[in-house]
Subunit: 315 residues, 2 copies
C-alpha cells in the first residue's frame, strides 16, 4: 500500500502573514500533522488499524508531565490512540525494564516513548535499550542511532528530524552550507550533526570545551543551538543572513527564553525559530510521524512520500 504519494510541496513562504524572518514551527507542525492524519485515516479505513503510542513516565516531574500532555494531545488530533503509563518514582531498574519489555512484546502497541530524564537512580541508556527498536519512536535506541550513522534509518530522534523537516518546508538549502551545531547531546546535537552531514552540509560540532565559540557561530550559515543555557549565543555573534534554529527552552524571570538572544539575533538573520513556537511543535509532530512509521512497519506497509514526510523503510 502506498501512503501520501505525490502530495504537492508546501507553500509556506507567506508564513501565515507574520514576519517572514520568523520560522513558524507551529504552522509547519500543523502541516506535518495533516500528513500524518491522512496516513492514519487511510490505515484505519483500509486496514482497520489504529496506531497506538504508549508514553511511559517515571515519577511526577512537572516539566515532564507538561511534555507528556503535549504528546498525548498531539495523538488525539491525528487519530493515534495513546496511553499514559505512570510508574512510581522509586521504581527499580529491573521493574522498569520488565514494563518496557512487556510493552515491546504487546502487538497492540506500535510506539513506546520513555519520557526522559529518569530519576537519578535509573540508567536511561540501558532502559531505552529494553524497548524494541521497531517501537522506539524517540529514535534513541542504539540500533536506531547506528542506523542513522549508516544512513539507513527510519525512526530518527524527533527534535533533529523536526528541524530537518522545518528546513525542507521553508526551502532552506542544506547542501554545501556551513552548519554549526552547538551542543552534543545524544538527543539533539549528535544526531543533528549526522543528518546535516548526510544532507551534504559542512558541519562543525561545538560544546562546552570549544574555545572561541563566538567565532564558530559567526561562520554558520545554518546554526542549531541545543545547550539548555539561556541566551548563551549572543545576537551579535550571528553571521548576517544566517538561518537559526534555537532548540533550548528555559524559564528566566517568568518568561520563556531560548539558547539564543532572540531580539538581537533577529536583526541579523535571514530566519530564526522563536521560543516557544519554533522547534518544540516540530518535535511533537515528528513523534506522531514516527508512530505512524512504526505502525506501518509493524503491518509490513511502506511509506512512500508526502510533501514533508519522506519515503523510507527499515529492517
Amino acid at each position: 500500500m502506498t501512503f501520501l504519494a505525490n502530495l504537492e510541496p508546501l507553500k509556506l513562504a507567506a508564513n501565515s502573514g507574520s514576519d517572514p524572518r520568523i520560522l513558524d514551527g507551529r504552522a509547519v507542525a500543523a502541516a506535518l500533522r495533516d500528513e500524518v492524519k491522512l496516513g492514519v485515516d487511510i490505515l484505519r479505513e483500509e486496514r482497520g488499524v489504529i496506531p497506538k503510542l504508549v508514553v511511559v513516565l517515571v515519577g511526577d516531574d512537572p516539566a515532564s508531565q507538561i511534555y507528556v500532555r503535549h504528546k498525548v494531545r498531539g495523538c488525539e488530533v491525528v487519530g493515534i490512540e495513546s496511553e499514559r503509563r505512570i510508574l512510581p518514582h522509586d521504581i527499580s531498574q529491573d521493574t522498569l525494564h520488565q514494563v518496557l519489555r512487556d510493552l515491546s512484546a504487546d502487538p497492540s502497541v506500535n510506539g513506546i516513548l520513555l519520557q526522559l530524564p529518569l530519576p537519578d537512580h535509573l540508567n536511561d541508556i540501558i532502559a531505552v535499550e529494553q524497548i524494541s527498536s521497531f517501537k522506539d519512536v524517540d529514535g534513541f535506541h542504539y540500533k536506531n542511532l547506528g542506523r542513522l550513522m549508516s544512513w539507513a534509518s527510519v525512526l530518527e530522534p524527533c527534535t533533529p528530524r523536526g528541524v530537518m523537516t522545518l528546513m525542507k518546508a521553508r526551502g532552506i538549502e542544506v547542501r554545501g552550507a556551513r552548519a554549526v551545531v552547538v551542543g552534543r547531546s545524544m538527543v539533539v546535537g549528535r544526531p543533528m550533526a549526522q543528518m546535516l552531514v548526510r544532507d551534504d552540509a559542512t558541519v562543525t560540532v561545538c560544546h562546552r570545551h570549544t574555545r572561541d565559540l563566538a567565532e564558530h557561530v559567526g561562520q554558520a550559515e545554518i546554526l542549531i543551538v541545543a545547550t539548555g543555557v539561556p541566551e548563551l549565543v549572543k545576537g551579535d555573534w550571528i553571521r548576517p543572513g544566517a538561518v537559526v534554529f534555537d532548540v533550548g527552552i528555559s524559564r528566566v524571570d517568568g518568561r520563556l527564553v531560548g539558547d539564543v538572544e532572540f531580539d538581537a539575533a533577529l536583526e541579523r538573520v535571514q530566519a530564526i525559530t522563536p521560543v516557544p513556537g519554533g522547534v518544540g511543535p516540530m518535535t511533537v509532530a515528528t513523534l506522531l510521524e514516527n508512530t505512524l512509521r512504526a505502525t506501518l512497519k509493524a503491518h509490513k506497509l511502506k511509506i512512500e512520500y508526502g510533501a514533508l514526510i519522506e519515503a523510507g523503510d527499515f529492517e
Copy 2:
C-alpha cells in the same frame, strides 16, 4: 580477571631516533601489539583460551588479498589463531549471509571480519549485519555504530580507533582542539568525528560538497584526511603547527602516496603520519586489539587498562 592493569605510559618521544615530526605508526603499532600479546598470553595460560579471528574474503581482488595477508600475519605475531575463508566472487547474498551467520553461531570463533569492498552485486551494509555484533571486530555493525554514538562502545572501527591510540601514545591533546575530518565514510570519517567529539575536540566534517576546503583545513589543529584522493590536501593549506593524520593510500606513478602532499606539509606541521607506515599499521594492530576484546567478552572477562589499550566493557 584483570588484564594489563597499571602498565606505564609509553615513552615514544624519541620516536625511534628519526625525524620527530614523523608520527611513526609502525613503532606505536608494535607497542600496541605487545599489549595485545600480553593479554593473549594471560588468556591462554590462565584460561586455556586462544582467541580466533576468521577473515572472510569474497573473490580475488589483489588489494584485498594484500590487506588480508597483513591481518593474518598480525594475528600470528600476537598469538591469535586466524583463518582465511575465501568465497567465490559470484556468491549470492543469501549464501554469504549463511556463512556469516554460521560463523557467528560458532563458539570457537571470537572475531569475524568481512573484507570490504564486496563485489558490486553484493550489499555490504546488510551483509555486515549478519555478523554477531559481539564478533564484529571491524566495528561496522549498526549496533556497534549506535553504541559509538551513545558513547558506550567497545568494538570501534579500527582505523579511527587506531588514530586515537596514536594520538594518545604521542601525547597529543584532543580536548578543546580544533579538529577537521576530511571525508565522511562509514569506515573512517563518521566514526572518527564521533570519537573526536567524545574526546572534547571541536570537530568539523568536510567532504565533496564542502566549499572552501582549503580554508577549513587551514583552521585545523588536528587534521584527519580520509578521502582516497591522492594529494587532495596541499601542503600550503596546512595550519602551521598542526598534527596531521593521512589515512589515504594510493599508488601514483609507481609510488605510494597519501591524501596529503607530504613533503610540502612536513615543512609546516608539528607532526604528520607518513604513507606508508603511519595509520595503516595502527589499523591492523587495532584489529588485533578488537579481537582480544571480543574474546574477553565471550568469556565474560573484563579488560582493565594498559598504556594504550583502554578499559571498557560492552553489553
